[in-house]
Symmetry: C2
Subunit: 230 residues, 2 copies
DNA sequence: ATACTTAGTGTAGTATATACACCATGAAGC
DNA sequence: GCTTCATGGTGTATATACTACACTAAGTAT
């Protein structure tokens, strides 16, 4: 049993939420995961990023995983999440004081095989240059998430969280180009990325593509290392 | 008047706090601001970083400024604060569920002229290699703050938040060396930092120091720019 | 005038970044 | 089986940046 609380009721004014800005890349475009917002005062007119309240026995990390998977439809084992920023503006939710711990989520498109992970009534992948009107401050949260993603991509190996297990060097180059929105020189990119030593060549090639087969690579481990690549 | 809340009482389990890990540098050492923790279950046995609960009409940023100034004793106009990380472990406070939005604070030692800003009974500057036993998860918060400071110092100009208005190139070099804990080559440092263009030479020198006078510089603006220096 | 202390500077060697074009190889069509 | 097509894969020359390193300059104190 708990002791009587030393914190007066009027300081328990806020509700805590965990929201996830999840990105994936396909068709050479960055996409973000959006769900319809059913709650008042929006009643499905608007979209938002997946998220929800913390339970009393949950950390923000745990709540982020729970809401990203249940509401966002992306399987836990496919998803990388890291804390992004905490949004605490007084009226960010018009109904209540809600403080949101936002998370940056990344998931490789290729692993999203289950129907619920692609586009359904409950959740869709939307091009970041085609965002609809969004509820709350979710446009701002997405902006901060994208900014963080682009920044981290240039000095860490976080991009591995967007790549499938096996990929060609062109796949990886295109991923960098898509996330950063800029072209990269093919020869210089290959020299640089191979010199970092984060990739392992596989004894296999990707064939069947009406051109010369490409060697397949994988990242040596799942951790994000602080290495400048671009 | 507020509408009746759509959020059940049992989801208002948490209290929100804003804590500030404030750093300054003097005597060639990094110091962090600590205050005695009077509350149960610690009763002044332990120290902690300044912080406190959010008021219902406050953002986390505002609460961080308020507690850093009132409890930490550092004047608002001397203090730089940026959001660091949100700590939400279930039992981080043994009395209550408290979710803390932690802030990284920086302040130049030279501006701390008021008594309350130096060492008092209410707050002291403690060498980061001589930390006492700390309440809650404050050692972890300080660790994360220091890690963030060192990381930001290498690819932004955040170090300007630790420098007085006017300084010599040696002052700046020593600041980098102190924060990063490593020596820097004097000639290479000067070439690099002057080439970035973030500094302005002043038409003045620092004299009276029983050696050749040093030119004084200042940062061109207060914003933090993403520039690699070390 | 001398001693002391930090300020201020340059260069050579190495490593890294950039710009840029052609041959290799499998698939598909004839 | 020859040709076409499309992407895979490679090297070099130039410019820029990084590193290591030692001496003179100038004010203060005696």
């Amino acid at each position: 049993m708990k002791h009587s609380s030393p914190v007066p009721h009027e300081l328990r004014f806020a509700v805590l939420a965990a929201d996830a800005v999840m990105f994936t890349v396909f068709d050479g475009r960055l996409h973000v995961r959006l769900i319809p917002v059913h709650l008042p005062p929006y009643f499905s007119h608007l979209a938002g990023i997946p998220g929800g309240l913390l339970a009393p026995t949950e950390t923000a990390d745990q709540a982020a995983v729970r809401h990203a998977t249940t509401k966002g439809g992306v399987l836990h084992e496919h998803l990388y999440l890291e804390q992004l920023y905490t949004f605490s503006a007084i009226n960010r939710d018009p109904r209540n004081r809600v403080v949101a711990v936002a998370y940056l989520g990344l998931v490789p498109w290729e692993v999203l095989t289950k129907t619920a992970e692609r586009d359904t009534a409950a959740a869709t992948w939307v091009r970041i240059d085609k965002l609809p009107k969004l509820a709350y401050d979710h446009r701002e949260i997405i902006r901060v998430g994208l900014e963080r993603l682009r920044s981290r991509v240039t000095y860490t190996t976080i991009i591995k969280q967007l790549m499938p297990k096996e990929f060609t060097l062109t796949d990886l180059e295109v991923m960098y180009e898509t996330v950063l929105g800029q072209d990269i020189d093919k020869r210089n990119f290959r020299k640089k990325v191979l010199k970092t030593g984060v990739l392992q060549v596989l004894p296999r090639e990707r064939t069947g593509e009406q051109h010369r087969p490409a060697k397949l690579y994988r990242f040596l481990n799942r951790d994000i290392e602080p290495i400048a690549i671009i």
